[in-house]
Point group: C2
Chain length 204, copies 2
């Protein structure tokens, strides 16, 4: 297809497509003349991934580059590549790896790997601290209930990784970023549904 | 306590405390002289709630006012007050209530209340649409697995509402906003833990 069709198919503006080509985020088309090139379904897919990372997941361009590089070349250690790719997603916590005492206590309690250098560990520590300061700190019981159900969701996610058309890195990054807002909206709606049944919904 | 102690206890700067007093977000202290007043534990608590809403939950001040008003006067319909309070939390979706076909189909499938006017319904629709566009759309099976476990978490949340020192509105708003980042970090860590066990962690 020509570049105009690529723009049409993906909704990414021409100037942006040209910018991605210059920056090497999008592989060049197959030249069909001095100023023209032909593009394939691979280009469509790549643009959709970039679009999802920038607009839906909110990644800055330098983080998009990290993720695309890992998609193109995950290397021989898939575990480490997956970790690096997911660590490229927001929220970003500045600062070097430190100790995360709240996260450590709770993770060790449920028998889960504690790695202070992993981005999500700092994210958990920060979230636990903010909740504690607001007076809605995480009790051991609450953490255990949450952990059991979150783990079941995570098990399902990894089970389905092989069944996806996406590469493992694409699946992990897009699946993490794009299902997080779904899960949060679902929890708020479940609260509403349960409250309606317990407190009585005047609309009924 | 004097206003200086209030500042010390809460970490909220004096200028901000004065601003909240002027705006009526913080109830006045008990006058002890022409220019002095005494403050109580209720003032400390109120400032902690405001701080959590603004900094941890990221609410703009006009939304904080809505929540505080509902805390002070939830009225006789607690279900409706809880819904309004949680709807004051980000993310904010502009636009009037419309139909939300993806959310409707999935919610009806799991036998859950579908209310197009509820903020979280628009939030779910938007999240489902973004996931679909990114090629990680929600299958019926995935939605059912997520819904089962998210509901169990939500059931626990509501069960514990009565045991909290907070008022129902405070518990709902702070509990929703502050445990969301905890849940997301937990899922990323569960992914890592499961992947380490399946793919082999070279650190072991």
């Amino acid at each position: 297809m020509r570049v105009s069709a690529l723009v049409e198919r993906t909704g990414v503006p021409l100037a942006t497509v040209k910018y991605y080509l210059r920056e090497g985020l999008l592989q060049p088309g197959i030249p069909t003349g001095a100023t023209q090139a032909r593009y394939t379904e691979d280009h469509v897919h790549r643009l959709q991934v970039i679009k999802a990372l920038t607009s839906a997941a909110g990644l800055p361009l330098h983080k998009v580059k990290v993720v695309l590089h890992l998609i193109d070349d995950p290397g021989s250690d898939l575990y480490s590549a997956l970790g690096q790719a997911v660590a490229s997603l927001p929220p970003y916590r500045a600062g070097a790896a430190a100790e995360h005492p709240r996260a450590r206590t709770l993770l060790e309690r449920i028998g889960q790997l504690y790695d202070p250098g992993y981005a999500a560990t700092a994210q958990l520590e920060h979230a636990l601290e903010a909740a504690e300061e607001a007076g809605v700190g995480m009790s051991d019981e609450r953490f255990e209930v949450y952990a059991r159900h979150i783990r079941a969701i995570a098990e399902y996610d990894l089970q389905r990784m092989g069944a996806s058309d996406l590469s493992p890195i694409e699946y992990a990054v897009l699946g993490t970023a794009l299902s997080e807002p779904v899960l949060l909206a679902m929890r708020r709606l479940a609260h509403q549904d349960i409250a309606a049944k317990r407190l009585g919904n005047p609309a009924d």
